[in-house]
Symmetry: C2
């Protein structure tokens, strides 16, 4: 087994399931910390800030500082600030995306924005969607923090950001730029933050369609752990296989 | 020019534009009434009742009784009551769809419904969408009153019912049954109401993608009038042409 100099780690289904920590994953991260191996949590959650995500992890006894969290909101803000410094954006979404954009000097406004950004918004309204559609039809660039079609909850699978995004896609007949996993955009930026070349880093996650494909799309090694949405049997029907596949992170040897 | 025994007539872009009546269309309908030729207004609007639509037309001096209005809500309720008498439905949408379902004895409920119905709802919330997704994943039949991607307004093109519907389509990966124009479902029911065979009836409308295609899909003659969304030039790029195409309904000879 190859020795990796750094780890990118998914959250939901890998570190915890809803409100329950996955104990083997907590121990896994503690070992990384003890050995001084750099790691970064990479999440498609756009609504929470780095501080909120780190606090959630610390609550499960996971060693996690805010700067060890990389969200699709941070990736989105970086993409925009590189592409158009001083840009403005109309935003559908929560605290995380608003704070990330503000930190990069991006102005948030409702009319004539340079960008329309859609992140998961549980306070979605017709008026918010209308403003998004009008701006995209008016020429604003269209970005979605991630294409997740559903969110696992205690109640079942609820609408994810990819499905909310589709309203504007269908109505304006304009495809967005997706930032989150499985896109390479978020991964390349996470590697930059980690400061390591992709050959030295492994992507750890439970979801074949987001985490593992994100590794494929970035040309990275992948470690799939079957504690979340994708059972081992799913791999039988897949052409492209993760580099490693294990039932629990307690099996991993550093 | 063939003599038709009945007329199916679109509303927005044909009878009026937003709050402005199209005077030539008003005169056209008055002539139909004077000559005793049966006509029915066929609309993809699911949120208004027959009474509300008729009152709107009467306000423009158009001779229109409630039973001369056929909405996609009425068509939806008929489809369900034939397919499963005594069915229950979870509904996203306004007064029109709720009243139409109630009139056919369909129970409206949030959990474990037989059907999920999506009509345009300007009070859309994440919770409404969540309930729709959960029910469809739980096996409820999925119906959308129409697939219109956008609604023309003074502010520009706002999200239509087809784009709202896409949230549930994308999240559950389940395609709905669409009822409204350009589907034949609503047209065949409208012909039933009119009590005439399709060979004796012409479909009148301004929108190539809904009204005229509805005629094609039903095997009816079509009269396209360029007072709304589809200019004459659009026809140059279309393989299938309407039976007639005129700039104003004042040109029509009975």
């Amino acid at each position: 087994m190859k020795t990796y100099k750094g780890y990118l780690i998914d959250l939901d289904g890998t570190m915890y399931r809803g409100t329950e920590p996955i104990q083997e994953a907590v121990e896994f991260v503690k070992k990384l910390k003890d050995r001084g191996i750099p790691y970064l949590f990479v999440t498609n959650n756009s609504s929470k800030t780095q501080e909120q995500v780190a606090a959630h992890l610390q609550n499960f006894d996971v060693p996690a500082e805010p700067d060890q969290v990389f969200t699709t909101s941070l990736a989105t803000a970086s993409v925009i600030s590189r592409e158009m410094p001083g840009a403005s954006a109309y935003v559908i979404g929560g605290d995380g995306i608003r704070q990330a954009l503000g930190d990069k000097g991006i102005t948030i406004k409702d009319e004539d924005p340079d960008y329309v950004i859609v992140g998961l918004d549980r306070e979605i309204t017709y008026e918010k969607l209308a403003l998004g559609c009008l701006a995209v039809r008016n020429g604003a660039k269209f970005i979605s923090t991630n294409g997740d079609i559903a969110i696992p909850t205690e109640r079942g699978l609820l609408p994810g950001n990819g499905s909310l995004t589709s309203i504007i896609t269908v109505s304006t007949q304009t495809e967005p730029l997706f930032i989150g996993k499985p896109e390479a955009v978020i991964m390349e930026q996470a590697l930059n933050v980690l400061g390591l070349p992709k050959e030295d880093v492994v992507m750890v996650g439970d979801n074949y369609d987001t985490d593992i494909k994100a590794g494929f799309n970035t040309g990275m090694d992948t470690l799939m752990v079957h504690t979340g949405v994708s059972p081992k049997s799913l791999l039988l029907e897949k052409e492209q296989q993760p580099t490693y596949s294990i039932d629990s992170l307690s099996e991993w040897e550093f």
